[in-house]
């Protein structure tokens, strides 16, 4: 693997790790566009490769949050994450059959409502 390519991957990893650590999300919204713009990935490969990276990133971040700050609610995390696997599979299957643009607009409204609620908490 050429050195400059490894450096680019390391920069993507560092940026995604920072984003993930601050916000508690996977970091795919950082990794996917950088792989496409910087390393010439197509969208599918970028999405697939980012998931492998996120498995590492989220594991590190959850371990640090637990070990350094005792913030991880273990049972809640498992009760959330394991059913979510089924949900993602079902959602990806349904996405070809449902009116996607309408759902996306409804979902973006829900996210804005959640944002308002977070600010008011």
């Amino acid at each position: 693997m050429p050195a400059d390519r490894t450096v680019k991957l390391g920069v993507i990893g560092s940026a995604a790790g920072l984003f993930s650590g601050v916000f508690g999300v996977g970091g795919g919204s950082v990794i996917v566009p950088l792989l496409v713009l910087w390393l010439g990935y197509d969208q599918r490969e970028a999405a697939g490769t980012s998931l492998l990276a996120i498995a590492f990133i989220a594991s590190f971040a959850a371990a640090l949050q637990g070990a350094l700050y005792a913030n991880v609610h273990l049972a809640d995390g498992l009760l959330l994450g394991l059913p979510a696997v089924g949900g993602v599979i079902a959602g990806a299957g349904l996405s070809r059959r449902l009116p996607h643009t309408t759902l996306a607009l409804l979902f973006s409204a829900l996210l804005v409502a959640a944002a308002v609620q977070l600010v008011l908490e």
Binding site: G17, S20, V25, S50, A53, I57, A58, L68, T101, L111
Partner: protein, 137 residues
């Protein structure tokens, strides 16, 4: 307990449908519905993301869409950034971190709405990224 499972299933469904990551749903769900602090919600969301990302990576790998070496390099080199991010998140007040997360939610909402309106105007899914956003975390 039922509320947590419901957030997980619904979060997963929406993530699969919309192509957003689980965290964008898990974090506000844990804060608003379960009353966790922002830091606890983020930490717990990160744990919940692990099985979702593993399952997604296996599924994409079967389709030949995972460059294993690159993904591993990104994941391993993320460690320093992750540590810095976790320290930053825990040095901020809950209110500041909630407000920052609210900004992230609005940005994601704007991107989704923009893509949906563009798709609607063009009369079908876009071929560049519209159809594969369903897969990204």
């Amino acid at each position: 307990m039922i509320a947590v499972v419901a957030i997980g299933v619904l979060g997963g469904l929406v993530a699969g449908l919309m192509g957003v990551g689980g965290g964008i749903i898990f974090v506000p769900g844990l804060v608003i519905i379960l009353g966790l602090t922002q830091q606890q919600a983020e930490a717990t969301s990160l744990l919940a993301i692990v099985p979702v990302a593993i399952a997604g990576a296996i599924s994409h790998d079967r389709d030949g869409d995972v460059r294993r070496r690159d993904g591993t390099v990104i994941g391993l080199t993320a460690a320093g950034g992750v540590l810095a991010g976790v320290v930053v998140a825990n040095s901020l007040s809950g209110q500041t971190l909630r407000d920052a997360f609210a900004v992230l939610l609005v940005v994601v909402a704007a991107q989704l709405a923009r893509d949906a309106l563009r798709e609607r105007r063009s009369g079908g899914p876009r071929t560049d990224s519209g159809s594969v956003r369903h897969e990204s975390q």
